[in-house]
Symmetry: C2
């Protein structure tokens, strides 16, 4: 079969650039490339959008059953510092990670239907600029999560 030969020869199974360079970026900071971090990177590279912390732990465990939660959470902290993920909190306070955030944005959460939407920086500009000018406060937009009722759920 040619399938096997092809898979052996393939350089990388189409991993987006940011993930490919993680190893170098870690080492450049004196940090290390470990099997546990590799598993998490693989999981993240195969995911998109928003995922909760415990869901990521589960997915890592699916790859390596020996996975331990604290290691995953600590690795996520490191990746957040590299800007590869960002987290905010759902209405119940649970962490939600956003993978490869393209641009800083907040999140909208409907209390009733539990759906979430992204809140582009533009729609929060008045708040962030206002707080900056009035108080010198610099809002961390990516951590902002706004709860309330969506249009649909207000019909009740």
């Amino acid at each position: 079969m040619t399938a096997r030969a092809a898979s052996e020869r393939a350089p990388q199974p189409a991993e987006p650039a940011p993930w490919a360079s993680v190893r170098e970026r870690l080492r450049a900071r004196g940090l290390r490339w470990t099997p546990q971090r590799r598993v998490l990177i693989d999981v993240l590279a195969a995911s998109t959008g928003h995922v909760t912390g415990s869901e990521l732990v589960d997915r890592c465990r699916a790859v390596d059953p020996a996975t331990v939660p604290s290691t995953v959470y600590r690795a996520l902290d490191v990746l957040e510092e590299l800007g590869l993920v960002s987290h905010s909190h759902g209405h119940d306070g649970r962490e939600e990670f956003h993978i490869l955030p393209d641009a800083a944005h907040g999140h909208l959460h409907c209390t009733r239907c539990r759906r979430t939407w992204e809140l582009p920086a533009g729609e929060a500009a008045e708040l962030t600029i206002g707080l900056h000018d009035a108080r010198g406060f610099s809002v961390d937009l990516s951590h902002l999560s706004v709860g309330g009722l969506c249009a649909d759920c207000r019909g009740a």
Copy 2:
């Protein structure tokens, strides 16, 4: 001694009106006035500002060592429905209760120094109005907590 007679005669030790009427408000809804709820009310009446959930549990335990956390949290849910407390989440996701919120407001949290400030409705008006008009989304301001760096901490 007159002290004893005085304390017996005293109508109420200056409990603000809202707390005095809790019992009636509960009963009006078919809910009950229990010793556990009374302890929490006493604790709340003696507190002001913002307190975390676990801190309230501790204070209740100081009054009644038999206090059980789940009961306190469930009682807080009830009181929140009555509008006597409201909660938001700190940067770490922990609950912070605001006692007798006079007016709806959000909270500002500095990630570095851990201080918090109130965010009056006016300062968030553009956001809430904007989301209302653009998306029909009705923001729950009291649950909103905005993280970032305060003016002081930006000098770093």
